[in-house]
Amino acid sequence: MFAIDTGSDGVSGPFFQWSARGSLDGQVSARTFYIRDGSQKTTFDAETKPIILDIEGMKTGWQKSEGIAGVAPEWRWNASVNQMMPQPSEDFKKGFSIRVAIGGGEAALWEQAGAGVWQCLTDLAPKLAQQPAKGMLPVVKLVDVKNMQFKGGSTAAPVLEIVKWVETPDCLKEGAAAGIATDPAPAPQPAPQPAPAVAPAALDDVEF
């Protein structure tokens, strides 16, 4: 199952992918997730089979793909998910790399770029920021598919929803250290020193 796949930068598969338009070979329908393992593509029903996202090992960056089978896309990774480097050139698209648990003790790599999947991730980000504790990962499921219209075309973005938070499963522990960890610790709030309060009588005493 964990074969080396030279079709994606030499990193180990299987690969979890979103398909907005379906694959040319007909193996994958439009607007679905699928698992690619070698040359085999299998539709993955993320509506009924939630996945776990390894947000602590997540990376973001820019991807340039020639769109040629067998040619690995070029990635430029950000130093941190909190900072996005300037676009290297116009043919680079925003993307990310995140390991996902797909059930049955199996993990896959979701490494993809493009407007649809980036929108999916950024829509989910405010919820991801509510990580209850380090080591807790979100279980998400597909709840909708959003159409995105641009001047030069359109795509479809998956909409994911967090079902619950769980401890990191064993299948994600192995590769967690490979990514750039996010810091889930809540930021300390500045605490001004107490000072005399405004007397209530001082309020509402000016009319206009």
Binding site: T182, P190, P192, Q193, P196, D204
Partner: protein, 251 residues
């Protein structure tokens, strides 16, 4: 019953009055239907900078305060894009520049025993058969200097205050009597102190807008308000909330 009472509105603020005047469609959605537009990266950057400035003025180390501000920003924008990265990058230099301007004032004072860390002020707008408090929260109060400072972080420091900021300043000035109310505009490269706007004149204009708002509310229930208010999809106020607008108004 006034229009405000009819809709359960018990106070206004400078931002509420400005929103009513500039984008009544957004106002109806926010204040009658309680649907808020999300806070963008620029606004959040301002909050983080202000936190760091206050924290440092109160005695924390500048380094720790900036670190906490960056962590707070990162927590909100977990996955950065170009816009959030740009806003994040100005936090440190803006804090440093703001502190250079404020250090001579010493420690600001804050209210004790308050859930809100800032001093609340309130003045009352009164019209024919209605009255409504107009409230605000002061960023920095320096009683020993007789000065209130409102910190405005921006990517472009203005040479004149906007009408919206003038209203905010005049509300504070009216409430704080003989204290000077100054707005400190700070970017990553520049700072400027401004205190524009004649208080009586500005509050007079605001009262005219509040009077129109009260009348609007008195003659319409919230569904009717939603149905008749002009919707401006090109308004800056909808920026980043386009989907919310389409969902709410269908435009």
């Amino acid at each position: 019953m006034s229009g405000f009472e009819k809709h359960g509105i018990d106070h206004l603020s400078a931002s509420s009055i400005n929103l009513w005047a500039n984008a009544p469609d957004v106002w109806v959605m926010q204040y009658l239907f309680k649907k808020r537009t999300p806070m963008g990266a620029a606004a959040w950057r301002g909050i983080c900078i202000e936190d760091a400035v206050v924290s440092t003025l109160m005695g924390e180390s500048e380094t720790d305060s900036i670190k906490a501000a960056l962590e707070k920003f990162d927590k909100r924008f977990l996955i950065a894009d170009e816009k959030t990265t740009k806003e994040r990058s100005v936090i440190e230099p803006t804090v440093q520049l703001a502190l250079e301007e404020l250090v001579e004032f010493g420690k600001p004072e804050f209210p004790a025993d308050s859930e809100h860390p800032q001093e609340k002020i309130s003045i009352t707008a009164k019209g024919d058969g209605w009255s409504i408090p107009v409230i605000g929260y002061l960023d920095l109060v320096f009683p020993q200097h007789g000065t209130v400072v409102d910190l405005k972080t921006t990517n472009r420091v203005p040479s004149k205050m906007s009408a919206e900021h003038q209203l905010q300043r005049c509300i504070y000035a009216a409430a704080k009597g003989n204290m000077a109310v100054k707005f400190l505009y700070v970017s990553a490269k520049k700072a400027n102190w401004l205190e524009d706007g004649d208080v009586a004149e500005t509050l007079g204009r605001a009262k005219a807008q509040i009077t129109r708002l009260e009348k609007f509310l008195s003659v319409l229930d919230k569904d009717a308000a939603k149905a008749v208010v002009p919707v401006n999809p090109n308004s800056f106020y909808w920026s980043g909330s386009e989907e919310l607008r389409k969902e709410f108004y269908g435009i």
